[in-house]
Symmetry: C2
């Protein structure tokens, strides 16, 4: 029995990737019934469905039409195609994409919204969702209220954010997550190639994050680019000549650090 | 009374910046006598010296010649100039720079080394040094042994690393620290410009770091660049048109994420 009356007729999850998997499991664990998992590859659908006692299929025709919520969590380009093939009686349809507008659903559906968790998910990695912000948007007040109720079942942090603002936040998240991870990736490559290990950088990495969060990033910067230490920078560029992509990143980021700091000082 | 016999005649600190300040205080707290602080600006010299009961000056002629250790922690380009003006009877001279060779001291001194803490320091911010790796290099075994002894007074993590390897580690550290902080800085700018706050990204930022450390960065990547989600990427580039530097960084980093992943998959 669901504790969330708005979704007694159950939730359909469309997709079985990283975000779909983590949200579906969080719904299941908070006693919201996930009835059905659709995925274009049946193996991933099955893998997720078995964890949450749901039915599953790789055929959109088998998706039930009387569920309360249809949550589409697939590659951005595929959202509209799946939505347009659904037969929905009265339920709400949402997607989970930071970069896609609410109005992708506007011409076809009565009740629709966005349910965007501001987090990075990898299927194999467990994660505590209780602090993760969920950004909600909806086309009417009742739908909004229901989506808030569901979101508060899985996290303490729920906000109403419109499409334009959500897209800006998504872009900022790409820098703070994907691009930060790529900086770690480059570090890891450089460490391995000098017979060292990424682990040696751990205290530096953790302090860098703590500084940025506690002091704000504009007050936390250090290093050769900030000091415009040209000899060191030229040496680094020479050391990167084997890695032309990394060399370009080094040049542009160093240049941007120096310019950002000069602007602040003037 | 020092617990570290090798340095009973005291330590001289040349410089009073971020690294000099944190190391001097750590020496003081571990009962190693810091006798003297030199800095070209007398105010910073005084500010540091008063915290550690040391004498201070902005004139290199006043630096005592019979100390056991001379630690130079200034901008890289200034190390050699200061070293060449010192009159040292028997003490060890070291610098703290990741990117500078040991042999900067080779023609002038008898006992010399490098004492490089792999960490980001900001004067105003307290930090626990006990987990911070200190990378040691020295021109002879006795000097090396003394520097190890001193380093183990302030941290559990001490390694002998030669100049070439240290330079590679320093370059990796620039990516994991300065460049990561700049990604946070850009995020913060984007969040502020959409009337949101950097704080909203905190759970994402923390999970990104934990993932990279626990799974290794090459297994932790997610997002539009990895998926080659062209529509989202094009949209992001449009949104960045007001910030040409950030747009360039976005292009180069996205491209590098996609290429790095393709290489792994092939």
């Amino acid at each position: 029995m669901s504790k969330n009356n708005a979704f007694d007729n159950g939730i359909v999850i469309l997709g079985a990737g990283n975000v779909a998997t983590h949200l579906a499991i969080a719904f299941f664990k908070s006693n919201n019934k996930v009835r059905f998992v659709y995925n274009r590859s049946i193996n991933s659908a099955k893998e997720l469905a078995l964890q949450i006692n749901a039915e599953y299929s790789d055929d959109l025709k088998h998706v039930p039409s009387d569920a309360d919520l249809y949550l589409i969590s697939v590659k951005d380009d595929a959202i509209e195609g799946i939505a347009n093939k659904l037969n929905i009686k009265h339920g709400i349809i949402v997607h989970t994409a930071g970069g896609i507008s609410l109005d992708i659903f506007a011409n076809t559906f009565e009740n629709f919204g966005v349910f965007y968790p501001l987090q990075t998910f990898t299927k194999s990695r467990k994660i505590d969702l209780s602090e993760v912000p969920i950004l909600i948007e909806a086309n009417n007040e009742i739908t909004k209220s229901k989506l808030f109720q569901l979101a508060f079942n899985i996290t303490k942090s729920v906000f109403e954010i419109d499409s334009e603002k959500r897209k800006a936040i998504h872009l900022a998240a790409v820098f703070s997550c994907n691009f930060v991870n790529h900086m770690y990736f480059i570090s890891s490559e450089l460490m391995q190639n000098s017979n060292s290990t990424f682990d040696l950088l751990k205290p530096l990495i953790i302090e860098t994050v703590n500084k940025a969060i506690e002091m704000q990033p504009e007050n936390a910067q250090t290093g050769p680019a900030l000091r415009n230490d040209k000899k060191v920078i030229e040496n680094h560029i020479k050391m990167l000549s084997r890695y032309p992509e990394f060399e370009n990143i080094y040049r542009f980021v160093s240049d941007s650090i120096y310019k950002s700091n000069s602007k602040r000082e003037n």
